[in-house]
């Protein structure tokens, strides 16, 4: 272990500016996606999360064209798309996929238009790859603080809504009985989801954003019986995937004679492996013998 750490430090892994930026922005994305991803899966909005990622590509490509911050582009379009989903009927189960599909189509059309403008007017030929699949080592250090602020806002929203959101996930009618507005809770969750998707799109690209949003959360949900445990596991898995992906991409420069493989590829591979490993862990968890015991007074296991 020490040898391994010394190996990393020897190659100035943490002393590289682009690596530090990637670690910070990617870490923000991993944490906020993990927390919001758990609720996104539980609410059955995984497809909506994926669609928001794809739609946010319009914002990313527009930012290249307009010369504004890519985070602002991703976030702006993702937030507009989230509100569109809410108003078009993402609340009604039967209409969810229809509304999501319509918004997704419109967003991708807009994305195609802005990418066309990027290529024809600004000569930014790498824009499409950067927007769709990310380029973590090319992130500007000026994005660090905006990313941290977006992450804090997203996490703050979920923290404030934690209990109503959980009750709404368990059963909307039980939540309504307690005076919780399922509509407001759903709308604020979608806005927080837009923030998470924007950060994920900035890190691993808009197409792969859903992998970071859904993968760690889905793997964590397989092995957890409590929401806070699932969230904790999702954060750990998300950070391992993102930071591990960055390290592997950094190392791959030496493996393939000066050609580093994309970070996004390694991140997605790690997430996929985690999800596969979650299945046997889930089986092991189910096999555990549960002995009925009386509750100890005022204590919790």
């Amino acid at each position: 272990m020490l040898v391994w750490l010394a190996h990393i430090l020897h190659f100035s892994f943490f002393h590289s500016g682009p690596v530090r930026t990637a670690l910070l922005v990617g870490g923000c994305a991993a944490v906020v996606c993990a927390v919001i991803g758990v609720f996104t899966i539980l609410r059955g909005h995984a497809f909506a999360g994926h669609a928001l990622g794809d739609v946010s590509s319009a914002g990313g490509s527009a930012s290249f064209f307009l010369g504004i911050s890519p985070l602002a582009g991703f976030l702006g379009i993702a937030a507009i798309a989230a509100m569109s989903l809410e108003f078009l009927g993402v609340r009604r189960v039967r209409d969810q996929d229809v509304a999501t599909g319509i918004v997704l189509g419109a967003g991708l059309g807009l994305s195609a238009l802005f990418l066309y403008f990027d290529i024809t007017t600004t000569s930014t030929t790498g824009a499409a790859v950067t927007v769709m699949f990310g380029s973590m080592f090319a992130l500007s250090p000026s994005l660090i603080w905006p990313s941290i602020i977006v992450a804090i806002l997203g996490l703050g929203t979920v923290s404030v809504l934690y209990r109503p959101l959980l009750l709404s996930v368990a059963d909307p009618e039980l939540a309504a009985t307690r005076g919780i507005s399922n509509r407001w809770v759903g709308m604020l969750h979608l806005l927080a989801l837009a923030g998470a998707v924007a950060l994920a799109a900035l890190s691993v690209g808009s197409v792969l954003a859903s992998a970071l949003l859904i993968g760690p959360a889905a793997a964590a949900l397989r092995v957890s019986r409590r929401p806070c445990v699932a969230i904790s596991w999702a954060i750990i898995l998300g950070l391992v995937a993102v930071w591990g992906g960055i390290w592997l991409a950094y190392e791959s420069y030496y493996w393939f004679s000066g050609n580093a493989w994309p970070v996004s590829f390694f991140v997605v591979v790690i997430i996929f492996a985690m999800y596969l490993l979650g299945a046997p862990c889930q089986q092991l968890l189910r096999r555990r013998v549960r002995v009925a015991e009386p509750l100890p007074e005022g204590t919790e296991r």
Binding site: L42, S159, V160, L161, Y162, R163, P164, L166, L167, V169, A170, D171, E173, L174, A175, A176, T177, R178, G179, I180, L221, R222, S224, R225, R226, P227, V229, A230, R290, A292, E293, P294, L295, E297, G298, T299, E300, R301
Partner: protein, 317 residues
Amino acid sequence: MAYREKVSIASDGKRDGADYEAIAESRVPNYSAAIVKGSMEQTGTPLLSAEDITVRIGTRVLLQNVTFSIGPGEFCGLIGENGAGKTTLLRSLIGLQHSPHGRVRVCGLPPAKARDWVGYVPQKINFAPDLPLRVFDLVLLGCDGHRLGPRWFSRRLREQAHKAICAVGAEGFAYQRIGELSGGQQQRAVIAHAMARQPRLLLLDEPLANLDFRSASELAQLLGHLSRVHGISVLVTAHDINPLLSLLDRIVYLAKGRAASGSIEEVVQEETLSRLYGYPVAVIKHGGKLLVLPDVGPREGEDGCYVVPDARSAEGV
């Protein structure tokens, strides 16, 4: 029995008139404690009163001038054929039904202000098998699920949840994922959730549906126990009222949008029930207990086809 006496017995010494007063002052600023206290001190004041409830969905009048009341500690059944408006009425009583006309009061307060005193168990509960929520967590959410911000450790809340779990006999599966439990266990868990804030009134929408004989009987006994021992007023809807018959104090029945109520002896009669359901119903006395059964099953007609008796066959009853 006076309301105050009933409340004192019911609350296990934990919630008496003074507690109501404190709750009213702290949580219901627009309604003075005097209103609540005054209503409590009046002997025979109903815990729940519904006056002239009218609900229209589109052009259809689902409920029309429905009026009834439930006293403290009373165990009432709400019966009626499919589509009679039982669920709509229950939802109106807790303020979930949009734009009902009429007046509902729980402990003298409108439903939105009396949420802490009403526990509700909805009809359709589908917990996802992978929902990372244990029974204990669901009951905790019954205590403070409406509050904003993360939950900090609270011994009082955990003890409150523990009491609710013990009250419904869910100790054996309190730490299991709720989605992995059987239907009967899930019903117990949701009743514990409803009981978490020590309500005075429990509304249950078809809690016995889809349960086997044993589970339905055990759940009915549990509801009777909660009503007797904890002094909670219960209003329960059920298609099969047999498991509840020995427990009910009164039956409220809905027919053609209107409601009427009566004692078991008045309502559980072949003529009344047949007219209510529009279908021949037999009431059998067996071993000192009443049993309600459909009077005629499918039978073979003259042309060899099976004939199911419809409402017309009950018109002459």
